[in-house]
Structure formats: C-alpha cells, structure tokens
Subunit: 377 residues, 2 copies
Amino acid sequence: MFNFRIKHKAQNSQARTGIISTSHGKINTPAFIPVATQATVKALTPIQLEEIGFEAVLCNTYHLYLRPGAALVKKMGGLQKFMAWNKPLFTDSGGFQVFSLKNGLCEVNDDGVTFKSHIDASKHIFTPEKSMQIQRKLGADLIFAFDQCLALNADYETTKKSLERTHAWAVRSLREFKRLNKDKKQALYGIVQGGRFLELRQKSAKFISSLGFDAIGIGSIFGDPKDESRKIVEHTLKFLPPGKPKHLLGIGAVEDIFTYVEMGMDTFDCVLPTRLARVGYIYIRPESGGKPENKFRYRITTSKFKSDKKPLDGHCDCYVCQNFSRAYLHHLFKAEELLSYTLATYHNLYFFARMMREIRESIEKDKFRELKRKWVK
Amino acid sequence: MFNFRIKHKAQNSQARTGIISTSHGKINTPAFIPVATQATVKALTPIQLEEIGFEAVLCNTYHLYLRPGAALVKKMGGLQKFMAWNKPLFTDSGGFQVFSLKNGLCEVNDDGVTFKSHIDASKHIFTPEKSMQIQRKLGADLIFAFDQCLALNADYETTKKSLERTHAWAVRSLREFKRLNKDKKQALYGIVQGGRFLELRQKSAKFISSLGFDAIGIGSIFGDPKDESRKIVEHTLKFLPPGKPKHLLGIGAVEDIFTYVEMGMDTFDCVLPTRLARVGYIYIRPESGGKPENKFRYRITTSKFKSDKKPLDGHCDCYVCQNFSRAYLHHLFKAEELLSYTLATYHNLYFFARMMREIRESIEKDKFRELKRKWVK
C-alpha cells in the first residue's frame, strides 16, 4: 500500500508538506529519516525513536544482506518485526555501499556488481534483479531501484556511460519489482543520477520520470561544493513529476535540508547526526548559537565542558537536556561509557525531529522563509 | 535521613522484608542493587532502570574519585543530580577496588593505602578519613566504611593482622563520618571482615556491631566455595544486631541470593547481571529451564540462536522479551551493535528485579521456602 498526498504548498517557494502512507502508517513530510544500518539505529531502542518523534527509519540492504541475511530476516517476519519497528521503513538498494567499498573490493559490468564482503571477503554479486529480490525479502515499505553511484568529480564520458547503465538498471529494477510486488505491499523509488552535468541530470530526470516509479530519489548529491549541488538539484527537480514524493539520498546538513525543502524535496536520510553523536558532536539550535559557520554543533569532549552545569542545549526540551549536564556527558565520553552514545544520539536525533516539525509547521503557516532566515540567514 | 523498618519476618527462617528510608526515597528489601560504577549502569538510562523497577543503585568511589573527581561531582550537586538518579544511592568505600589493583599498583600500611591510578598511573592515597571525605562529596545516601579486603584463601596470621587494621579503620571511618555528617544526610555501613576463619568473623561481627554504625555490610564473601561462604555468613549473622539492615557485598549469583535472604541478609550488589549481559549471557527463569546447574543463563551468541524466533525467555514479561527475538539479539551481538548491550542488560536486570519482587512477596505470604524450592531445589 502506498499513497502520497500533498497537504500544503508554500506560496513563494516549492516547499510543501505532505503525507506518505504505507501499510505500516504515515510519514509527515518534509521528514528526516534516521539510518538504522544493521536493523538498529545505533544505541537507541525503537521506543526511544518513537518518543523522539520519528515516523520512519532507513536500513542498509548491503549490510543486512551480508548479516544476518535476507532469507533469515524474511523467516523472522520481515525487518519491521525483526527490529520491533512497527512504522514505515525504507531500505536502500545496496548500490551506494557496494560502490563505496575500497581496495578493489568491487567490480562493475553491465549485468551488475561483483564485490567482496567487508566482513569475511567472501564474493557476492548484486544485480538490479537481485537487489529487488533482497529488498522484497527484507520487506520494507519503501525501497530503492539499483543504481550506479559515482564520485561527483567523475568526468563527462565516465558519467554518461554510468548513467546509461543506471537507466538500464532502473528498467530492470522496475520490471523485477513489478513481478515480485503483485500484492502492492511495497513502493519503489527510481533514482536520478548524472553527476555534476546538468544536461545528464536533466536527461536522467526525464527518463526516470517516464518509467512510472512510485516515487523518485536523487542520488550522488554530496552536499559539497554547495553551490554546484544546489544547482544540480534545482535543475533536476524541474523535470520531475511534482505530485510524487522525492527523496534526497544521504543529505543531512542543516543548511542543505532548508535549501532542498525550499526546492520541494520531501524526505532526507543521513548518518550525520547519529555518527557524529558517537564521537561527541552535539547539535545546537539557533537560539543557542547554532549556525552554518559552526555547522550547528560543538564537541562535548572538549575540556572546557568538564564542569559545565548547563544542558547540552539550553533551548532543547529533549529528555537528555531536561535531565543531564554537559559535565555529565563529558564524563561519560571520557570514561568511554556506553550511555554516552545513547544520550548524544538521542539528543541529536531530537534536534532533527524538532527541526523538521518546525519546518512542516512553518510551511503550513506560510512562514517557511522566516524560519529559514532564523536558521541559516 | 535514615531509617530501617522490618515489615515481616518469615516463620521458619531468618528471611524478612523491610524498608530502608533515605532522603531520596525508600528501598524495599530484600533488594538487589545494580552497580553503576562510573555514575551509570552501563548502557541503560535512569528511566530504563526505574521502568525495570529498581529503587537503588551503587556507584564505585574509586572510579569516581579518579574520574570525574569528587569535587566536581559535589559542584554538580552530588551524584544523584549528576547522573539524574533521583532515588536512593549507595557508594562503596573504594577499598575493594584499590585492593583489586594488580601489578603492584597498591601498597598498604596502617595509615591507609597508596595506589596508582589504572587510568594514568598517577599516585594516590586512600585513608579511612579520605574515603569518608570523598563519599561525603559524592553525596550518596548510603555509604561504606573503609576496610581492607583480602583473598578468601589468606592464612590466619595475615587475616588476623588485616582484621585489626580493618577494625582500626572502622573506628576512624565512623569518627570522620560523624564529623562530616552533622546534618544526618548520609548513613554509614560498617564492614565485617575476617576471611575464612569463623573465630575472626565472630570477633569482627561483635566489634563492628559495638561501634554503632547505621547498618552492617559483610565483606570478602566471594560466593565460592559455596559451603564455606555460607558457613561464614551464617556464623557472622549470629553476632550482628537483628534490627539493622545488612548488606552482602559483591554477591549476586541466584542461588546465593536465595541462601542469604533465608539467613536474613537485606541487600546485595553485584556486577554479574550487567557484566555478563555485555558478553551475551542471558538470564532465564526456572519456568524456562534456569537452574543452578546452568547458573540460570545461556549465551545468546551461540550459533543455534541465529534463527530462533522465541524471546530471550518465554516466561519473562520485560520490554525486550515482549518485542524482540533471540535471532535479533544474536544478530545485534554478531554485528557488535550498541543496542545489544542495552537490550541484554535490560533483560538481565529485569530478571533480578522480578526475582527480588517475588522473594519479597513470598516472604510476606510466608511462602519463601516454596519459592526457594522452585528456584534452587
């Protein structure tokens, strides 16, 4: 089951609110989707995630395929049951992770990708069909077509060739998906590629749009350099069907979220708030000095916080900020206590959940521009 | 503020229920006290501990003295505020940890103990007075006198000498405690030592009882060999004032708890359920096959649990058992996910909290013997 309804469109930008409906419930958009790589958002229970206010998470197909394996997850009743997350769930296609493998662990041809496991160096093959089969077994509500990811600095010829492959794989992904998805349990996102070339992005946007995916993702936007990334996304969006939900893969910097919400993007996934939490980076709101220059964060492990009685963020109303001091978090990190990861992750994700809630509210009140000015000038 | 009231005495044993009252609330006894070494029960939030049902935790003075330091904790408003645990709290004296240091990191004389930090090898001295001063700054409700700990196999002469020192330190601990505790905020446990020699234990019990501590701890009982440990505790208890709360330091095996509750012990602290959780040992109830022979536990990391749909313990009603399978926990441990520590710790502590609740209920219904038979035959 899948449906997307646009609730409200901003008057002076492309920003919009909407609701993605799945058989596991609804996602209010624009939404930030935390990453649960190995069927867990690191250091948090599903109850804590719900308490923070998230309506969906995204798991990584590459990791789950290798361990514990898609067949096992299926036997356990699917990912949602396995990880006790009874809400909407995304899986990615496995492509990005496979193409991120270093040291010659990955070889690509038109059929698919041969790669070696980062766990035991065993050899595996992903094809578009295989990715669909794995994602079917994992059983997420929202899944992605198998694509080839390139570095943003790849040259025109390389990007063009790769794009042709991605398009052929999109067709094969969709065909296999339709064969498997007779019960309409899942929805499939096509992915637009094309590197840093506006002409290729335009071509890709048109082609992917023509295939009739349920929704569209934009891939290989790495946030930097910001101007170039923005131009690419803005240009791409002109050629995508306005009525379909659009996901920006791997984007999660605060400024980027404001930029791309304004352009009409609906969902974002990124490991930034969770990964940075585990090395002690704490997000702070604009009222507390968060701004693009400091990337809305500071590092709690710095010695100046050793005896700081204040909460992580004086303007945050999360469980962590209501109960613990910077000094306590500093202590937990210095003592390498497991609770440090839980509390920092909790706070950072709360920061994102609340920011997205405020973004949605501002759009519906036609005040998104004001909110954006407050956050990123 | 400190008070102990015996609620109910068993008819055919020394088992009893009671209530220890402190300025941070009450502890229903017999109680198991989880260990929060560095001001955190590893991998759990204070809210989760409350949810599990604990009324008190115990922090380690040695660790907190070294990091973050007692003065800092005091500045932060005391341990309870620092760690957001607004319930009764114990600290130990630091003695056990100091005497457990290996590789010549510890030297003792009649004045106190010189030791090197396990963190940076810096040199420190603990004396009875210093231990009281540190514990005062940390600010727990229930604190312990500074004593010398010995291996249970120490010979008579060594044990006798050490006991004389422990007794002199008990007098000094109490004197310093009284000087610091004019506001009656804290209560002090004296500690009985005497190794494996009944005669010395008896002497110690009488001497410590004569000093007028608020409560009594029994130290250096390591659980094994069981018969010897039992005889020592049983003999010791004959010479302790029945109306005072009695704590058995470091004891936490299921059978031992039943044994010593039956003898009249009121509280226990032990790292066993939490430490074992982090390497994948899962406690199970007798209805699920838990028994002295398997130490009421199994190891979830064993490959036979890879695709086991059952909960950790089919007769457990904790959050973990209500929501997750053995296969999921197995996966989390294999993938070295942080959530593995949280969920396994949660379950193991719930096992102990519920067992203690059942013990208390059975005593009040004069059915402790029946309960004990069910658990340990």
